[in-house]
């Protein structure tokens, strides 16, 4: 990292989040480069303050046939279909990240509270620093979003997971609902340690020449700069209503985007699509830009900058 000259006070990007300590608040979002231990290590080397695995389920899943991704002007549309090697095989990937210098957050998806608990407990055994419940994948039948819009179902899942493991429990929520704050309150009420918002928005792309949707699954999830304004509003509303930390995600690919999320109330942020659009160097760029902005504007800590847009 370039040397940033201190103004009055030293700038620190370190954050404490639900009991975890991160060297900086710029995390890897789930779904990107998180299927193998080796690629998670590469993201940590690139500067991420924490890394989140791809969402892992009970059984191996091949996901949907290609096309699973469409490039758009302002983002991506994807319908991967939750491909993953299954929780048993994922142990060997977690072995690879044993020596990772930053926290590893194990993302899991399931169709019942019991299954979520089982997967979270395995992630704890594998050495995960926290678990992230994918309550929000918009394109896999029976998983994710269908449970993630119902506050009662979310409360039941988070309660069950909290009683089955000791590591912090994050809930990743979908913006595809009319009352996100109610779902956020359900997470907090059930003892959830943090909320991750947002996952992708339901979307579609059609080839007019082929006269059909491009994705093999037809519908998919929209991410990237196209969803940033929505994610920001979700984080702002959640942080106004809740006490637990919010991790902001959606369209972040430069320091300004990240600072916006922190000012909206996020304790940390995650980058996903930005890796494809800007390359792995996006982590370093955001971290350095944020440090410079903070030192020029008299912020000595992330906590001091967090939520200032509410004042």
């Amino acid at each position: 990292m370039n040397q940033v000259l201190p103004t009055k006070r030293m700038t620190s990007l370190r954050v404490s989040l639900a009991g975890l300590t991160l060297p900086n608040p710029i995390m890897l979002a789930s779904g990107m480069m998180g299927e193998t231990g080796g690629s998670l290590m590469k993201v940590a080397e690139a500067g991420a303050g924490a890394v989140v695995t791809k969402s892992i389920g009970s059984e191996p899943r091949p996901g949907y046939p290609n096309p699973t991704l469409v490039e758009l002007e302002e983002g991506y549309l994807n319908a991967m279909g939750l491909p993953n090697p299954g929780i048993a095989a994922f142990e060997e990937e977690m072995e690879v990240v044993r020596l990772c210098p930053v926290p590893i957050i194990g993302s899991v998806f399931a169709s019942s509270a019991k299954e979520f608990s089982y997967l979270a407990e395995r992630m704890q055994v594998y050495g995960a620093s926290a678990v992230e419940l994918n309550l929000s994948c918009p394109h896999a039948k029976g998983y994710g979003m269908e449970v993630g819009v119902d506050p009662e179902a979310v409360e039941a899942i988070v309660s069950a997971v909290k009683s089955s493991c000791k590591i912090p429990v994050f809930a990743k929520l979908t913006p595809n609902t009319h009352d996100l704050v109610a779902v956020g309150k359900a997470v907090q009420g059930a003892g959830g340690d943090a909320i991750v918002a947002i996952n992708t928005l339901k979307g579609m792309s059609i080839s007019v020449e082929a006269r059909r949707p491009i994705l093999s699954n037809k519908g998919g999830g929209l991410s990237g700069p196209a969803v940033k304004a929505i994610g920001l509003r979700c984080v702002f509303d959640l942080s106004a209503a809740l006490e637990i930390p919010i991790i902001g995600v959606g369209g972040i690919e430069n320091w300004r985007d990240a600072v916006e999320y922190i000012m909206a109330g996020a304790s940390a942020v995650q980058i996903g699509s930005g890796i494809g659009r800007r390359g792995l160097g996006v982590f370093k760029e955001v971290i350095e830009g944020m440090a410079l902005f903070m030192s020029e504007n008299g912020y000595s800590s992330i906590e001091g900058m967090r939520g200032v847009a509410h004042e």
């Binding site: 080796g38 690629s39 290609n66 002007e73 491909p83 080839s207 020449e209 390359g279």
Partner: protein
């Protein structure tokens, strides 16, 4: 911006046993070694090395499964979607280059000879299991003064592997760079052969891919993404990867033997 564009197959040429070249209009510049994600509407989308990068672009498809079978049977006029170009291609250096291709691996290599465009600056070695699987021999002869052919069964050219033939050339000629593409065990042997004579090499790898843009990680080899960090890697990088020549990921992301 690598957004998908729809185009039509303008020409289809059978190159060898189960191998077909499709040509189409695609306006973006492509560097030697880069690949395209090619969509057959209603069937699948597959990563394909660009086998022609000047004028009408082209891919050379080897039939290995449903998608590649459907792709190779497309007739002129058929609609395809193309996105890309993706990946890091070959980094050329001054001096003389040796190209070593096995089977359909020639597809990603000949654009290098097109790019060099000097018959004295590039030698080409083409290998295959049997004569039916040799491709681009005539095209290679139009691009290089020194083209040699080998087959494992001796049905055409020298009998033996293309790496055995490459060893002899490496010993007597002053190459500044070796480029290879083909089955991964062949590439592993080629890396070792180049290491012995201390000539740098770059190899193009093939993996199952989904996004093609460095996001999903389904093509990871010891943490490196074949789609974004590759598909072309320097030999000294590959030599350090325990999975090189041994393991790949299946569609679930599980590590399996090659």
């Amino acid at each position: 911006m690598n957004r998908q564009v729809m185009t039509k197959v303008s020409n289809s040429v059978r190159e060898g046993e189960g191998m077909t070249t499709l040509r189409f209009t695609f306006d973006r510049p492509i560097s030697p070694g880069q690949f395209l994600m090619v969509w057959v509407p209603g069937v699948d989308e597959v990563p394909m090395s660009a086998s022609f990068i000047y004028g009408e672009k082209g891919i050379t498809v080897k039939e290995v499964g449903e998608a590649t079978k459907a792709l190779s049977r497309l007739k002129p006029g058929s609609l395809i979607g193309v996105r890309g170009p993706y990946g890091h291609g070959f980094d050329l250096v001054p001096g003389k280059t040796l190209i070593v291709g096995g089977g359909s691996g020639m597809a990603s290599l000949l654009p290098v000879a097109d790019f060099i465009n000097d018959k004295d600056k590039v030698d080409i070695l083409i290998g295959a299991r049997t004569s039916d699987e040799l491709i681009f021999v005539e095209r290679a002869r139009s691009l290089s003064n020194e083209v040699h052919v080998s087959t494992d069964d001796g049905s055409k050219g020298r009998k033996g592997t293309v790496v055995e033939m490459a060893k002899e050339h490496l010993a007597k000629k002053g190459y500044s760079l070796v480029l290879g593409c083909g089955p991964e065990r062949m590439l592993r042997a080629l890396v070792e052969a180049c290491e012995e004579v201390r000539i740098p090499c770059q190899l193009s790898l093939e993996r199952y891919m989904k996004c093609g843009t460095g996001l999903c990680g389904s093509c990871a080899i010891n943490g490196l993404r074949v789609c974004a960090d590759g598909p072309v890697f320097p030999g000294e990088v590959l030599r350090e990867l325990p999975e090189f020549g041994g393991f790949k990921r299946n569609e679930c992301g599980r590590r399996v033997k090659l």
